[in-house]
Symmetry: C2
Subunit: 190 residues, 2 copies
DNA sequence: CGGATCGTTGATCAACTTCAACGGTCGTGG
DNA sequence: CCACGACCGTTGAAGTTGATCAACGATCCG
């Protein structure tokens, strides 16, 4: 039984079985509990996370002090501030655990070293980012197109099980509106 | 004097000078004139474009028949429907020239062959997508955070020269509001 | 010169926010 | 095991933002 990360990599590229342990050795396993911060706004961001089990989110505080959630990451997703991470720049985002979670963490320099040592992983990450970028194009489409109300229905229809997993105010924060309005929408539909 | 694509690749990875011509040979040079479509919604998307000179955009028609522009690409940017392109799937997007433009085009299968033949390009595209994904995180942040009016000011302050380059209704379409409202904002500021 | 395309203006209207207040529930310490 | 407090969700009133519609200039290109 391979590690979930290896299983995931194997779906996209083929790596030598002998290399698996060496690849995993670049990562630090991390346990975080609910509400714990991994990366904080205003600090350098030099870590990329892979979610083995659980759920984390990326958000920032807008000028009114309201948390805006931009992304969730669940099992088999990668998350960091991808703008800041490559140069270890200061991030405006905070990454926080939504549930108690098991993660793998890798720092900028270690990722570079790992990629040098295992070139097939360049391809793996190319495919991961390509897919992620494609998904963000689609998400952008919904943001333009749908009213807040439509965004809500689209979300709960497409991710009914995930909707159960997170508190309502986080969903509101992700969809970009107020918990009060979400409350109204729930009443409307039921 | 190298081709603009080679110059761009060289900024991120080092390729053998002897390979440059071979790499370029995977691409078709294309000339498009203003308003010409490259990819159309409802058709398979199997081409990735690199802008040598000019400007193209990606948009879709929403259910009311209004064009929503999601992205512009100018010199040295790559553009396609990144969700559909890898599997040559049907796209919901149209890619159209904003100005008369010179492009390089490459199809899914050719890109795969090229990447097999020149592994450093895996790294190049990994970096390109990583950066593009990072940029889309930042764009998403603005979409959540700013009012339409703030989006407008943010855009013209950051891209004054580009604002001159495109008609007003395209800017409105990109920022996600009506040309009428844009008109009102212009009046307000001046 | 003529027609299409683009930008402007103003009136009306809907979607969503803001603010304030209240009720329920969960978990932690006594 | 109970009680308290913090946190979360709900409700309703009033206020904004930005859309819609219709009509009218301006400009550009053939």
């Amino acid at each position: 039984m391979s590690h979930p990360l290896i299983v995931h990599i194997d779906k996209l590229v083929s790596v030598n079985v002998d290399d698996e342990a060496a690849i995993l050795s670049f990562f630090r396993p991390i346990q975080v509990s609910k509400k714990q911060n991994l990366i904080e706004a205003g600090h350098p961001c030099s870590t990329l996370y892979f979610v083995v089990k659980g759920c984390i989110r990326l958000f920032y505080l807008n000028e009114k002090g309201v948390e805006q959630t931009l992304q969730f990451a669940i099992e088999n997703w990668w998350l960091t501030d991808f703008m800041a991470f490559p140069q270890q720049g200061i991030t405006e985002f905070t990454i926080q655990a939504v549930e108690n979670s098991q993660l793998l963490a890798i720092d900028t320099a270690d990722q570079e070293r790992m990629l040098d040592q295992f070139p097939p992983l360049e391809r793996y990450f190319r495919l991961i980012y390509q897919r992620a970028y494609g998904a963000s194009q689609v998400k952008m489409k919904y943001q333009y197109d749908y009213s807040r109300e439509q965004l809500y229905h689209h979300f709960i229809d497409n991710f009914p099980q995930f909707t159960q997993r997170i508190p309502q105010y986080l969903l509101a924060s992700y969809l970009g509106f107020t918990p009060e309005y979400l409350s109204e929408l729930r009443k409307k539909r039921s």
